[in-house]
Symmetry: C2
Subunit: 114 residues, 2 copies
Amino acid sequence: METSMMEIEKTATILKLLGDKTRLTMLKMLDTHDYCVCEFVEIFKVSQPAISQHVRKLKDVGLVKETRRGQWIIYSLNRESDSFHFVQSLIQHLPNQDFKLQELEEQGLRISCN
Amino acid sequence: METSMMEIEKTATILKLLGDKTRLTMLKMLDTHDYCVCEFVEIFKVSQPAISQHVRKLKDVGLVKETRRGQWIIYSLNRESDSFHFVQSLIQHLPNQDFKLQELEEQGLRISCN
DNA sequence: TTTACATATAAGCATATAACTATTTATTTA
DNA sequence: TAAATAAATAGTTATATGCTTATATGTAAA
């Protein structure tokens, strides 16, 4: 049967957040790997502040969490979030995005954060 | 297992559409009953043009379809839509909204369309 | 065939969103 | 401690959204 119920209002808030190609892709990517802001900047080809604002929105609703590692801040899925299972059942339908990480490595742009 | 893959871009478009309390509730309602515009107007307490615009957006992406019945236009889920299973797996998480229909009947406002 | 009713469309307005540049904050390293 | 790097925040701008009122269209009924 069903996992757990979501409030309509909260769900709408989350769906609006995920209704953005960049954030939706981020979440799918975070399902298999953690990423730092600088990697997202390379991958999405937008400015660093733009990326910061996207991850902040995801953080504000509790979907992702951050860990500082030196000068880098690593973002990861918050698997303790109330909405985690909902979001995961949703991104299940999306194609794996690991190729983006591979492209990054081929360009030698991943090393910077590790 | 998994049903079928959704493109990221198309999925973002759909999620943005569903990231609105009114449209999300509409879809959940349409999962169990068909509704005409005038019923939605009563239920959502917004103007008739506002409702028309919401259902139009849902229709434009193929999630709902309309059937004229006399002077009324009845909206229903388009279960042939590419995105139908995706949307259905999503609204599964939402609480049933049939109480809205009952409220409408108690107010005697449902008779108008039938 | 005029009138009433249901819905759609158009136009206008207020607010939200997503991007950018410039600047600030935090951390590391020289 | 000064310079360099990563990320966050502030401020601006362009565009999108959702609502409203006014009007048009389509159907039914007098």
